[in-house]
């Protein structure tokens, strides 16, 4: 009932007025706002990997799941783990005619039956950490094997679990390393701005990532190159059990979690999401250290190949960012050193000249010095090197300043 008609009716009951007030409070709008954690969750759920959301109670995990379910067109079933008994997940025994002959069937609870009948749905297991250990054990079987009693959940059902962080969990919920290794761990945090704006009447609306059918092949290729490239160069990262109390129960690298990472990179690439989303997923699967190494390797995959640059130095496009540009120039000089001949050496000088013309001169000093040292006696200095005189003067200025600084600091001590 509109408010105006209500006020016109002096006889309206208190409950009607209360209802009108509630309606007014519910009357909120939404605004588009990128949400990296929701995008990461969407991709992990789409990839059908077990996700564990770590977050304090009351920060909108359920609200996020509701939006995700809406967007994927899946009915949402929320099961609060702490109010159930283990038999609710491992099946309730039902006595038949002759238990000795036919056994005692384990009957699944109603929500599981409804899920199986629907064939699809989003199952959210909330409050995993406040359930007694036996319930947690039963739940893990549900998450990892997708079985409730004798019932196998169909592939269309996606499962997400949530737990409170160790420091705030009232009792000792903790994942053992083998279990932790099977999950994609996402830290769920709230953004103060979002909460303030939401309570003011405008909640965020995230556009969720869409997988693009035309990019699937490219995505798988990219994911394989990234993971295999890193693991071939860093065999120690393939399997590393977490050590120490601090990192217990968190993500760590193993062949299983690398496999999950590969899947997630492929999904992230096919959806074209930002690196920040990819970073949440990768670090939530293999841990911070190995995850960051992988991301650095992915960044390097994007850098131009030294051989391509040497083949056509006049058309070379160097990265704008200084540290990446320096990595490329170092790579070029290393490539020349590996297979040294006159034309490659000249091409590298042309590249260095381009680098000076388009960016900061100090980046070029080290590559130029190294390249100069590679010169064979019979090779003439290329005329283009004239353009590098500025580099030499920058280098000399830095040396003079270093000498002055050395004198000054010595004087002070």
């Amino acid at each position: 009932m509109p408010v105006s008609t209500l006020s016109a009716l002096p006889t309206a009951s208190q409950l009607d007025i209360a209802g009108a007030l509630t309606t007014l409070l519910r009357d909120t709008t939404t605004e588009a706002r990128p949400d990296t954690q929701l995008e990461a969750l969407t991709l992990a759920v789409a990839a059908d990997l077990p996700v564990l959301l770590w977050g304090e109670p009351g920060i909108g995990k359920t609200a996020a799941l509701t939006q995700l379910a809406d967007d994927l067109g899946l009915p949402l079933t929320t099961v609060i783990a702490s109010v159930h008994e283990p038999s609710d997940f491992s099946g309730l025994p039902v006595v038949g005619d002759d238990p000795a002959e036919q056994g005692v069937p384990m009957a699944p609870p109603d929500w599981a039956v409804r899920l199986v009948r629907a064939g699809h749905g989003l199952l959210f297991l909330d409050e995993l950490s406040t359930a007694p250990p036996a319930v947690q054990a039963a739940l893990l079987r549900l998450v990892l094997e997708r079985r409730v009693g004798a019932l196998q959940l169909p592939p269309g059902v996606r499962i997400v679990a949530a737990a409170n962080p160790r420091s705030s969990a009232a009792d000792g919920w903790e994942l053992s390393p083998p279990l932790a290794n099977r999950f994609v761990h996402l830290q769920w945090t709230h953004d103060q701005d979002v909460v303030v704006r939401g309570l003011g009447g405008t909640w965020p609306r995230a556009t969720l990532p869409r997988l693009r059918p035309e990019r699937l092949g490219e995505a798988v290729d990219f994911a394989r190159r990234a993971v295999c490239g890193l693991l071939a160069a860093r065999p120690a990262l393939v399997h590393r059990l977490p050590s120490g109390e601090t990192r217990r129960g968190g993500p760590w690298p193993s062949p299983r979690s690398w496999d999950m990472t590969l899947t997630l990179i492929a999904f992230a690439t096919a959806a074209g999401v930002s690196r920040d989303v990819l970073s949440l997923l990768v670090r939530g699967t293999v841990g911070d250290g190995p995850g960051l190494e992988l991301l650095a390797a992915v960044d390097r995959l994007d850098l131009p190949d030294p051989e391509t640059l040497l083949a056509d130095p006049a058309a070379a496009v160097l990265p704008e960012r200084g540290d990446l540009r320096q990595a490329v120039l170092d790579g070029v000089v290393a490539a020349v050193r590996n297979r040294l001949d006159r034309s490659r050496w000249d091409a590298a000088w042309t590249l260095l000249v381009r680098a000076v013309e388009t960016g900061a001169p100090d980046l070029v000093v080290v590559p130029a010095t190294t390249l100069a040292a590679l010169r064979r006696e019979e090779w003439d200095v290329p005329p283009s090197i004239e353009a590098l005189t500025g580099v030499v003067s920058v280098s000399r200025r830095a040396e003079d300043a270093a000498a002055r600084a050395a004198v000054a600091t010595k004087g002070r001590r």
Partner: protein, 409 residues
């Protein structure tokens, strides 16, 4: 010289000198994007790794001091001063530009006491902890609790290292959408590469930077949380605490005649705390750790009479129930042999579910895994792992793998 152009060659010569003096910072220094700005007093950074430079400042400052300024500014970003400033402001409810100036000063104190020297000159007018009458070697957060704005900080009112140093957006900032900003992931990647460079080649970087590198991606967790989690997990594991048991039928059994269902039973955990009372552990350390353990066990349902305390040096002493914790006489001194303490704790009837040992680790350990969960609270000794001068062969045993070890202190 306000109308002058930015002397880029001078600025970059300074960066080159900075890279030569601190090679482990090269990635970070090169990742900074230079923006010429006439509105910054000297040099400033924003949280997206842009470096705003005043042409006038470059003109006026010698190259070696500019090099120091480069390293100073990049240190703000590597040490995440803007994020830490924001968090501190939120925790303590601080608002206003005055507080942000204080954060800038505190951040500068954290950086300046170990960044200069060894090839880098300090810019004129830099803030030192000593200038403010503060001790050296503290963190930004610690400095923030130590001083207020006043006559001593008067000279630094002009100080402005940008939003990258204190988290307050400036009007000259290009913001998140401006050109050449680094995304959060890119910032993490740069910081990670620098940290990796330092930990991969120890010996090249000063101690403060090594500490930064170790903690950059694994900030030390509060030992109280860790000890709490370890003890909670030990006392609530299967066999102790709340769990399902077939000892009594479940209330649901009425509906299923002939079927035995487990019911939820509560068996409060028994906890034995073995305390190392050898001379090397201070009373204050012991007191705080003991209080912590008893608070945790009480919170998870252990009745106070189920927690007992055992002091142990070379021999195990009397067992005290925690009811008298306020007045537990911690007797001992001299060397330690925790093995007797463990043996004594395990001999008590009924047997404990959990043994918590609080020690500095200068002790032999039981060779076999005891028949209960074990949590070891290890008091931090900075020289652990190094050798003793009189006895270079002496290496204290590290706690065995079967114990959950939490570093305290």
């Amino acid at each position: 010289m306000t109308g002058g152009e930015l002397d880029r060659d001078k600025l970059f010569a300074a960066r080159l000198q900075a890279v030569r003096a601190r090679p482990f910072l090269a990635t970070a220094l090169f990742a900074l994007h230079v923006v010429e700005s006439r509105r910054v007093p000297t040099m400033a950074v924003d949280r997206y790794w842009r470096c705003y430079v005043s042409p006038w400042f470059v003109d006026r400052t010698p190259v070696e001091e500019l090099a120091g300024a480069w390293v100073h500014e990049v240190s703000h970003l590597l040490r995440d001063h803007h994020g830490r400033g924001d968090r501190f402001a939120r925790q303590e409810g601080l608002t206003g530009p005055g507080e942000r100036l204080r954060m800038n000063i505190a951040a500068d104190c954290e950086i300046n006491d170990d960044v200069y020297g060894d090839g880098l000159a300090a810019p004129e007018g830099a803030v030192w902890p000593g200038t403010l009458g503060l001790p050296e070697g503290k963190l930004m957060e610690e400095y923030l609790r130590l001083f207020r704005l006043g006559s001593r900080t008067q000279d630094f009112a002009w100080l402005d290292c940008g939003s990258g140093s204190d988290g307050l957006d400036r009007e000259w900032d290009l913001g998140p959408d401006g050109a050449h900003g680094l995304s959060e992931q890119e910032r993490d990647a740069v910081r990670f590469r620098v940290a990796q460079g330092i930990t991969g080649r120890p010996g090249h970087a000063p101690r403060a930077w090594k500490r930064w590198a170790e903690e950059a991606f694994h900030p030390p967790q509060a030992w109280r949380d860790l000890l709490g989690a370890a003890v909670r997990s030990a006392v609530s594991g299967p066999g102790a605490g709340d769990d399902y048991s077939y000892g009594r039928p479940s209330r649901r059994s009425a509906g299923l005649p002939g079927v035995i269902l487990p019911s939820l039973r509560r068996r409060p955990p028994r906890v034995s705390v073995v305390i190392d009372t050898s001379g090397s552990v201070s009373d204050a350390e012991l007191g705080s750790a003991l209080l912590e353990v008893s608070a945790i066990t009480r919170a998870v349902g252990g009745r106070r009479d189920l927690v007992s305390v055992l002091s142990c040096d070379a021999a195990a002493r009397v067992v005290h129930p925690l009811c008298r914790a306020e007045g537990i006489p911690l007797v001992g001194g001299g060397g330690t042999d925790l093995r007797t303490g463990f043996a004594r704790a395990l001999r008590t009837h009924p047997r404990p579910d959990v043994v918590v040992a609080l020690t500095d680790g200068q002790t032999p350990w039981p060779s076999d895994r005891p028949a209960c969960r074990t949590v070891v609270g290890l008091f931090d000794r900075p020289d652990r792992g190094s050798w003793v001068e009189d006895d270079p062969d002496y290496v204290p045993d590290s706690p065995p793998a079967w114990a959950r070890v939490v570093n305290i202190g």
